[in-house]
């Protein structure tokens, strides 16, 4: 594919020689510029856009692979089902709660960590490495560790630490909560915040370190308090980094499947839309319904994305203008 691209581009270059037809030359040049782009573009359209069109079509069908004889046009039936079915409505709700809380919490904690790491102290490099580690554990492995090594009610580390603390105060009856069953959604959220905070921290730290320091120093000279400097200089500067981190985090967390699948198997109200859709088509074989739910996710994402993209665009334009 690449050699073909190169050849097309090559002809484009040779077209720069004087030619009688200037317009066709211009066109050839334009295509020579486009040529390197086309393989990626075409590949992506075939593999992502085409399937979505098929999803769109299936979403209007009454199609359960276990009852192939009843397949037919369903109109908006599947969409009505998505919005009225208690489980799927719950999944929409769970997705929103999960995404918003994970993004906000990891942004706030990530900001705190970035502010600390922006200062100079002994072993900063190692501390930074330790803080990145959660992001570099395979998500499924991380979820398994949270489920079995940390949250297990009998031998998990959290209850183990509770035992230690109560022993320290001479008590032999430490509380041993089963956090995964008592607060399943919270457990999923906490494990995801743990994984995504390093990501936010890295982006915000880069933002902090690109601050123009002369204004900060000038403010310090003028006797501005650290809080005033943070509030009026650092935070406005970090705004676009916060937005970027939020957007990218949201893209990934809306689609999260691993944590929900591994920690709770979607039980106890933790099933988000990706998990619910997976179940609807993979186990219930409700192809039409699953597709309609998929389309609903895309519409939801599009609504959020149009707002979010605007902020990325401003950052991007600034960068491109340089």
């Amino acid at each position: 594919m690449t050699t073909a691209t190169a050849r097309v581009a090559g002809t484009g270059h040779s077209a720069t020689k004087p030619s009688k037809n200037a317009r066709s030359r211009e066109r050839a040049l334009a295509w020579a510029r486009r040529a390197p782009l086309l393989p990626a573009l075409i590949f992506l359209i075939i593999v992502t856009q085409l399937p979505f069109v098929v999803t769109l079509i299936i979403s209007f069908l009454n199609w359960n692979s276990l009852r192939p004889d009843q397949t037919g046009f369903a109109g908006f039936e599947n969409y009505i089902e998505v919005l009225t079915n208690a489980d799927l409505r719950q999944a929409i709700f769970t997705t929103i709660i999960l995404t918003v809380s994970v993004v906000l919490a990891s942004l706030v904690i990530g900001l705190g960590l970035a502010l600390l790491l922006d200062k100079k102290f002994i072993g900063r490099g190692l501390a930074r490495t330790l803080l990145i580690a959660p992001f570099l554990v395979v998500p499924v492995a991380a979820a398994l560790i949270w489920k079995h090594a940390l949250l297990n009610p009998t031998y998990g580390l959290i209850n183990g630490i509770l035992t230690w603390i109560w022993w320290l105060f001479g008590s032999n009856t430490p509380p041993q909560p089963d956090l995964l069953s008592q607060a399943p959604l919270m457990a999923v959220i906490v494990s995801l915040v743990w994984q995504w905070t390093p990501f936010m921290m890295l982006i915000l730290l880069a933002g902090l370190q690109s601050r123009p320091m002369d204004t900060v120093e000038a403010a310090q000279m003028d006797g501005a308090t650290p809080w005033a400097i943070f509030r009026h200089l650092t935070l406005p500067h970090l705004r676009q980094y916060l937005e970027l981190g939020g957007l990218l985090g949201a893209i990934y967390i809306v689609q999260n499947f691993d944590a929900v699948f591994t920690l709770t198997s979607g039980g106890l109200g933790t099933a988000n839309l990706p998990y619910a859709i997976y179940q609807t088509f993979y186990f219930a074989n409700e192809y039409g319904l699953a597709s309609a739910a998929g389309v609903v996710v895309v519409i939801g994402t599009l609504i959020v994305a149009t707002f979010a993209l605007r902020t990325v665009f401003s950052l991007f334009k600034k960068e491109a203008a340089r």
């Binding site: 992506l44 990145i132 900060v216």
Partner: protein, 305 residues
């Protein structure tokens, strides 16, 4: 004609985050009382240890015996053993983890190669010799990333099922390529934008073609960026679960899929699970730390340097 060609050098302090200790840091420590930094250092270290605890606990437990792993309170100082790793590699069950590990490596490495082959020329056409409306193209790439996998997975599954591509590692390679391509294009664009324009003009004057320019001018400058992009794509592919779970089975199952089926309901298994988690996370840890310098720029799709 080339008004859109992004000027290369960044005006903000470049370079990776923590290594960015230039003059201004010296200037800053002069302003900040040392006492303040000590407090920040202690707080940062405590939080770093808190965040690393699950990882460190996972590693420690993987070297414990099953009985020591499942105690309350935790047995921190228990004897270390490699039993859990032996178990993970099938000492008593006879189930080898190598096929899924090899599948994961195949899918991740091949898709990463394919991504680079497609993304580098595309990024070239978006930064060095940009097409008209190149920003629109960039946002088209990003928008495909915003479409959740679940919105396309059913047709892909049905297609694979009817064509016999189900449980075929090559189909997974294509899926991972499409999953990472938009990110890679964005990353590569920002790395290629750092290639000095004068060098490109000189190459053009010398009549160098696209392939030669890419190889001789662009690649050397953009190499660290290409490496970082490759490592990040590798990580995302290695980590992926949903597509692998739906599209593979016994033959082409990847390491994450293997891991989800690893927990037995019988007996003690915690040390074994920790060992498995460590082994499967090792490539990601290596790749992540290898890409550390460019990790932020890569993960932020080139928006942050």
């Amino acid at each position: 004609m080339s008004t859109l060609t992004p000027a290369a050098p960044h005006s903000t302090p470049p370079g990776p985050t923590a290594l960015n200790t230039g003059t201004r840091r010296r200037g800053k420590s002069r302003m900040d009382p040392t006492r303040n930094n000590t407090a920040a250092g202690i707080a940062a270290w405590l939080l770093a240890l808190l965040f690393a605890t699950p990882v460190l606990w996972m590693i420690l437990t993987s070297f414990h015996s099953e009985t020591d792993a499942a105690t309350n309170p935790p047995s921190v100082a228990a004897n270390l053993t490699l039993d859990a790793y032996k178990e993970f590699f099938g000492a008593s069950s006879g189930v080898s983890p190598w096929p899924p590990l090899i599948n994961s490596a195949t899918a991740s490495i091949l898709s990463t190669v394919l991504v680079l082959v497609l993304a580098i020329p595309a990024a070239y056409a978006l930064s060095i010799r940009p097409v008209k409306k190149w920003t629109d193209v960039m946002f088209f790439f990003l928008s495909t990333k915003m479409m959740p996998v679940v919105a396309a997975i059913l047709p892909l599954y049905l297609f694979a099922k009817t064509t016999g591509a189900l449980d075929n590692i090559w189909f997974l390679v294509l899926m991972y390529t499409s999953m990472n391509l938009p990110i890679a294009v964005w990353m590569m664009r920002s790395f290629l934008a750092e290639v000095p324009e004068e060098m490109l003009e000189a190459a053009q004057i010398d009549g160098a073609g696209l392939l030669l320019t890419l190889r001789k001018i662009v690649a050397p400058v953009a190499m660290p960026g290409i490496a970082a992009t490759a490592l990040i794509c590798f990580i995302f592919s290695w980590n992926e679960l949903l597509l692998a779970r739906v599209l593979t089975g016994v033959m082409a199952g990847t390491a994450p899929v293997f891991l989800t089926g690893f927990v037995s309901s019988q007996g003690l298994f915690l040390a074994k699970v920790c060992a498995a988690a460590v082994v499967i996370s090792l490539p990601v840890l290596f790749a992540g730390f290898a890409a550390q310098d460019k990790l932020v720029q890569g993960l932020s799709l080139g928006a942050v340097k």
